[in-house]
Subunit: 213 residues, 2 copies
DNA sequence: GGTATAAGTAAACGGTGTTGACTTGTCAAG
DNA sequence: CTTGACAAGTCAACACCGTTTACTTATACC
């Protein structure tokens, strides 16, 4: 019984006397829904937040969600579309790309991800969101990453790196924040760097389990 | 309009005249529910299968699910507990462990996972299942894997390998089966082997992004 | 000022997981 | 064989979900 009741008044008690010229403002209402959705999705995850709760938080009627966004799914799609995944990481010197990705991964492992990244981790499994998630993965990660790789099998190598990024999200979601948060950050960065480097390697030489099959 | 209607009679039309001695059999009913749940969860994923559908498929009343398993969640918990994740992979020569894991990963990448593994991939994001998933991850993967590692930071290194395994599941779930299925299986095995080896490496040497930060 | 139209609303629909009160079949004791 | 107790199974309801439809109401233009 603290400040966590979901039935709060709204982000701001809508003062209908502020401006007489516009009370019914489509764009403002839309934005209010979007802001509430982002806040609640970020805090609790997609499946945990009901349409009615979003509407109550935004101080609007439930039906407006479907009117403006088609369905609840459309709300998350719009929220997701706003945010960059790893801004600028995939651009730059390919030689130091693994290290840059690794640094982002360590940030995420230590809970310093953007709230929306966390929201997506919460929401990854929902099949309702698969199309949204797939599109985002493709356009924001696989394509730019593969585009900056030289050599053969760029797509496969990019997939392997993305796989690692996704795996960290899943591990954090399932195991909690403690999974890789302990230990030296520098060493973890080194580990991730070598892992990503292995993912992105142009050629792979047989290791540890030699040719004897 | 083929054979996919979910409203079929059940796994077998329950013939109440087969044996007059026992019509009300607690254990048989429980098992029937469990079998139906496994089949449907495997085929469609946890969230897509409703309690009522499971009950209808098993030919029992919905309330029995909660009577016998507490809640729908309990059904999945029991189904999951029955199945081994990677039988025997973590035991054996540590030197060839990365290759054994890699071979399992390639199997999974090519869609040859056990149906239950696929079901779990479908269902990973559901927070209702987080505790089940976490327990399974811990007892079936992290603990045995870390236990067979020598050297420092066994837990961290095991987490990194598990992270890769989980990432493949997420990638498959989001991107579909085509993600890593194309291409030469042998080469993919080599790639995964080197990645897992990087995850499990006892020590890590600075790579590619050198000391200049 | 009157009116078309968009913004916002209320109530319902079918669906979900879950629960409690109820019925009924089975088995053992009298 | 009858009777009772108890477990197995049933039914109807609860509260909630996402969504849709018909409706009211405020706004902006003529």
């Amino acid at each position: 019984m603290s400040e966590e009741e979901p039935e709060m008044d709204g982000p701001e008690a809508v003062d209908e006397c502020a401006d007489h010229t516009r009370v019914r403002d489509r764009e403002a209402t839309r934005q209010r829904i979007l802001d509430s959705a982002r806040e609640l999705f970020t805090r609790d995850g997609y499946a945990q937040v009901s349409s009615r709760r979003i509407a109550a938080h935004a101080g609007v009627n439930v039906a407006l969600i479907n009117r403006y966004f088609g369905a609840k799914r459309g709300l998350l799609a719009e929220v997701v579309a706003e945010e960059a995944v790893f801004p600028g990481v995939f651009e730059g010197d390919p030689a130091t790309l693994p290290r840059r990705i690794a640094e982002q991964l360590v940030h995420r492992a230590r809970g310093e991800a953007t709230p929306l990244q966390r929201a997506l981790e919460h929401s990854a499994g929902d099949p309702d969101l698969q199309a949204i998630y797939a599109e985002r993965l493709e356009s924001a990660m696989l394509v730019p990453l593969a585009g900056h790789l030289s050599g053969p099998d760029a797509r496969t190598r990019a997939s392997l790196a993305v796989l690692t990024i996704l795996g960290l999200g899943t591990l954090r979601r399932v195991e909690g924040a403690t999974a890789l948060a302990e230990g030296d950050a520098g060493e973890l960065t080194e580990r991730f760097t070598s892992i990503i480097a292995a993912c992105l390697a142009e050629t792979v030489s047989p290791q540890s389990g030699p040719s004897g099959d």
